[in-house]
Amino acid sequence: MAVILIVEDDVFIREIADMMIQDCGHQTLSASDVDQALSLLRDPQHIDALFTDIYLKTAVLGGCELASQAIKLRPKLRVLYTTGNSITDKMKTFFVEGAHFLRKPYTQHQLQDSVEGLLAA
């Protein structure tokens, strides 16, 4: 069992993601924005992976900025990005090394596969 931090500004989507990940036996923490997420990352709580939306409220690349700071706080943290927008090569340059990506909309099966793939990498 791993601990996954879910960062998603849409409450419903965040809670459904929470449910999907818990269904496959993992523990979850959740945040709606960068500040909340960084606050959790600064806590001593163990976290294995960050699952973040890239587009967070007004921050177009908020998820990328969050992941960059998160890696500085926790270098071994694994990162799974998601967004409904197309991923450009330029956007990929903002990804932290070794990060995975899951396109929205994702099914429970696709999310679970992505999380397992991330944790196994």
Partner: protein, 503 residues
């Protein structure tokens, strides 16, 4: 006074006499010349000699002027007055307007040649160049004056014509320069090595440098990416013309401006390369609009995908309380919602303005299916054969869903051993479009039914075909593999076609 040299016709006995006689002959020749007006006066200016040249030029007979008038009387009075004034200032002594003004310098032993307007007997005027000499006796006392004049009309005409041409040239240059300066684009010329040779005001404004600073400097120095700027010069030298070449100009105060360059080479009359003409249009506003449009597109895309995610989430939530028998149906529904979301992206990527390129669209669908359904190590490959046709974006989604459904069915059912070839074809056949999905898999046992193996899938195919106003062509192929052939009305328009075809 005898300025003609006397009338002694005896043969010269001494060399002095011969010379004197020769001088007299020269004087006669000059006085008889029809091309020079030779007017001799006494010391007071009264005309004593009026030669044939003077008669011809001025229209007077010698008898009409000799011992009657002075040369001032046949000169433009205003010019005589002006000359008197000017000489008075120049020589710091009062000079009376009149004959004195015409000969004053000569009377002081100063060589004097000037322009003067003579007035003919009939009142007409002509410009003359007059040379004035004082005539002196043996004691060096002035006994008269000789005014030799030439008609300056032809020269004046040439000068006037030249002046007119010069003015026309200046006007032309002013006009050309005005066009260059009034252009809203920053204009510049360089030599073939990229050194600036000319700029307009807009170029000065763009760079914050003066014309003098810019001329002689390398073109590339004024851009954030000098290598790309230099490449533009090289490109235009090889291509002769380069359009819409974007560069970011950097002014001396650090201001950056995104500009779009149109560059051409230019030549002299003998077709020798002179350099490069470059016009830069400030596209900052256009770039901002493009950025705004992109932001809006991203924002809309974000919202649409989030809403689709909510729907998928709702379905996921429902499946927790649904009988196992129904779960597969819910999952299929989720997958199809995912396909719609992907098609939305593919339409954006394949869009050419108001139409979607079918060939690019099919390739993107194939690529996405390969990635999501087949994985990296699949033995199934998907080939696309499509004519360069375009499709109305309104119909792109049902068309994409139709292709997606047919291809998904083939991948799921045609290749139980995990290897095979699937081909997606689109071609124009008369006034119809034929979509063909061909696999070399195991084929279908019951060929009498609709040629798709999954019931719901076949229902969807039928619905999409009906939505697109098409028909499914019964397959005639035998043996291995399955071919599904669908004819659609000309909802796909040829490239460049702007007509929107009704549903």
């Amino acid at each position: 006074m005898d300025v003609t040299g006397g009338t002694d016709n005896t043969a010269p006995k001494q060399p002095e006499e011969a010379l004197l006689n020769a001088g007299a002959a020269l004087q006669r020749a000059i006085f008889n010349s029809a091309n020079f007006s030779s007017i001799a006066t006494d010391a007071k200016g009264v005309i004593q000699i009026f030669n044939v040249g003077a008669e011809r030029m001025l229209g007077y007979a010698a008898a009409e002027v000799m011992n009657k008038i002075t040369p001032a009387d046949i000169s433009d009075p205003q010019e005589v007055i002006a000359r008197a004034k000017a000489l008075s200032v120049e020589l710091a002594t009062p000079i009376t307007p009149g004959f004195e003004a015409l000969v004053f310098k000569a009377s002081r032993g100063i060589e004097d040649i000037y322009e003067l307007t003579y007035i003919r007997k009939d009142g007409s005027r002509f410009p003359a160049v007059v040379s004035v000499t004082a005539l002196r006796d043996a004691q060096d006392a002035i006994i008269g004056y000789l005014l030799i004049g030439t008609d300056n009309t032809a020269r004046k005409l040439v000068e006037a014509e030249q002046k007119k041409l010069d003015q026309r040239l200046r006007d032309q240059q002013f006009y050309t320069r005005s066009l260059i300066e009034s252009n809203i684009d920053a204009l510049m010329t360089t030599d073939p090595s990229g050194i600036i040779t000319d700029v307009n005001k807009q170029m000065e404004a763009l760079t914050g440098c003066t014309r003098d600073e810019l001329i002689g400097a390398p073109f590339k120095s004024y851009f954030t990416d000098p290598e790309r700027a230099e490449a533009a010069i090289k490109l235009v030298l090889s291509e002769k013309k380069v359009a819409d070449y974007e560069l970011t100009a950097c002014a001396v105060d650090g201001t950056q401006t995104v500009v779009s360059y149109n560059l051409t080479t230019f030549y002299d009359r003998s077709r020798t390369l002179q350099g490069v003409f470059a016009a830069a249009r400030d596209v900052t506003d256009r770039k901002q609009r493009e950025q705004d449009a992109l932001s809006l597109t991203n924002e809309i895309s974000h919202r649409i995908k989030n809403n689709l995610q909510v729907i998928v989430g709702l379905i996921a939530y429902e499946t927790r309380w649904t009988a196992a028998l129904c779960v597969q149906g819910y999952k299929s529904m989720q997958t199809r919602i995912g396909a719609i979301a992907q098609l939305y992206d593919l339409i954006s990527q394949s869009s050419r303005g108001r139409t979607v390129a079918v060939d690019a669209y099919l390739r993107e669908i194939a690529k996405t299916m390969s990635a999501s359904l087949l994985g990296d190590i699949s033995g199934i490959d998907i080939e696309v054969k499509a004519e360069p046709l375009e499709i109305d974006p309104d119909r792109a989604v049902p068309f994409g869903l139709l292709v997606n459904e047919l291809a998904t069915n083939a991948i799921k059912h045609a290749f139980p051993h995990g290897t095979g070839h699937l081909m997606l074809c689109v071609e124009q056949v008369g006034d119809q479009i034929e979509l063909t999905v061909v696999d070399d898999g195991v084929g279908m046992k019951d060929k009498s039914s609709v040629k798709v193996p999954e019931k719901r899938g076949s229902d969807y195919v039928a619905i999409f075909v009906r939505q697109l106003g098409g028909t499914i062509i019964p397959s005639e192929s035998e043996g291995t593999g399955t071919t599904v052939r669908i004819r659609l009305p000309l909802l796909l328009v040829p490239p460049g076609g702007a007509e929107r075809v009704a549903a």
